[in-house]
Structure formats: C-alpha cells, structure tokens
C-alpha cells in the first residue's frame, strides 16, 4: 500500500468497548464524505467494528488511525489498528473462519478482509498486532 495519503490523519483511542462505537461513527462520517454508496458504507463500518473490537478485547486496547488516501484517480479510506497486546501466534489460522482465541465466533479478521479491498496484518508475539485495511471508491 504505497499510494499517496492526503496528509490528514485522525486517531481514535480504543480502550473500552464503548470506544468501538466512536470508531464506527467516525468511519461512517468519513465514508459518507468520500461518497461511498450505502452498501460500501455498511461494509466499511462493519469491518471497522470487527477490527476495533479485536483491538479492545484481544489486543487489550490500542488505537485506530483513519486516513483519506488516493490510488491513481481513485480515492479511498484507510484504517490502521494498532495494539500492544499478546500478538497472534498463527496469523494464517486467525484469518480462517471459525478460528477464535476464545469467546468469539472468530469472524472478525477473515470477515473484515472480505469486506474491504486491501488487508494487511503484522503480529509479533508479546509485542502486539497491526491490521491495516483500505477500501476505494
């Protein structure tokens, strides 16, 4: 993902489950501003909700950074979720549907990947996880 960013970043702190609503509402606002249709808005907000919950629950808190990006003549939205949690031992497996580190349905990561155009994940045991997603108009 080396397209140009437009420079403006917004950081949403993700400490408790109430913060997930903030991330959702900000993602909706940005998606509307960018002119995404209602279906893409819904996909973006749903993916953001899944990833924000992962950051709060499994990552023990962290943050989301939202940016408006450009790729060629297309504009898009990028969100980066960072935590300093325990990390994911097997990222490939974590992307499979049904995988769960306990309690959940394990749909978060794989589901979010399907709903967005770009998806990247980096995770290191004991250091934390960063997930980056983007969707273009």
């Amino acid at each position: 993902m080396d397209e140009n960013t437009t420079g403006k970043e917004t950081v949403i702190t993700l400490r408790e489950t109430n913060d997930i609503v903030n991330a959702r509402q900000y993602a909706r606002k940005l998606a509307v501003e960018l002119g995404f249709n209602i279906l893409d808005q819904t996909k973006i907000v749903t993916a953001i909700s899944e990833l924000a919950r992962n950051t709060v629950i499994w990552g023990k808190g962290g943050k989301a950074i939202f940016e408006i990006i450009k790729k060629g003549n297309k504009s898009g939205l990028r969100a980066t979720f960072t935590d300093r949690g325990p990390g994911i031992p097997d990222v490939e497996k974590a992307l499979e549907d049904g995988y769960t580190s306990g309690g959940g349905l394990g749909l978060g990561l794989g589901g979010a990947k399907r709903l967005m155009d770009e998806f990247e994940i980096e995770s290191e045991i004991g250091k934390g996880t960063t997930v980056t997603v983007a969707k273009y108009k």
Binding site: T17, N18, I20, V21, R24, Q25, R28, I38, L39, Q41, T42, K43, V45, T46, S49, E50, R53, D97, G104, L105, L107, G108, G110, G111, A112, R114, L115
Partner: protein, 120 residues
Amino acid sequence: MERIPILKMGDYLLVSIQIDMHDKLAMELKNDLAEKISKTSAKGVLIDISALEIVDSFIGRMLGSMSEISKVLGAETVIVGMQPAVAITLVELGLSLKGIHTALNVEKGIKLLDELVKLQ
C-alpha cells in the same frame, strides 16, 4: 441511563432498536428481555432492527442468544426490518444467523410469530 424499551402487545413483546448499540446496551437488552418474558409469560418476541445501520458479529451473536434464551423461556423470536445493505454485509462477513427467524417487516413478522406460536 439509556435503555432499549420492551413493549407488550397481547401475548407478544416488541423490541425496537433505534440507536447504534454499544456492547453494554446489548447485554442489558438481553437481560431485560429475559426478565420481561418471564414476568409476562410472553409467547413471542418481535425485534425490529430497521434502524440498525450495521450488524457485526457481536450484535449478530447477541441477536442469536436473545432468540435462544427466549426459546428456553417458551417464547419464539422473529427479527424484522433488516436493511438490504446490512443483509448483504452480514452474509459477506460470514454470519449466517442460523436458527434465527427473520421477516421483512413488522406485519410479516407478526404473521410468522402467529404461525410459530401455533406450532408450539
């Protein structure tokens, strides 16, 4: 404190979710509904989600467990009014809402509830 109201209509309970639900509110609704069913001996529950802009895996799971709890307490549940974009997203996310009864609108939902309750 904000709470989602549960209205009684004859043998049925009507829940209309009108706000973007945070997790705690969803858990409270689950508890409130179980108590209301037990108090009123309701035979059916209609949950209107037409104002919900998304259903993520957490809300989906919550709808599923509300429907299961209601069943254990002797009430059938029908979820109505899901927006088309929400339905498409839900399926793409991988959430099938297995075992949950759904209907397009409140009217159809009541009809379905009538049928389900008759079968009990």
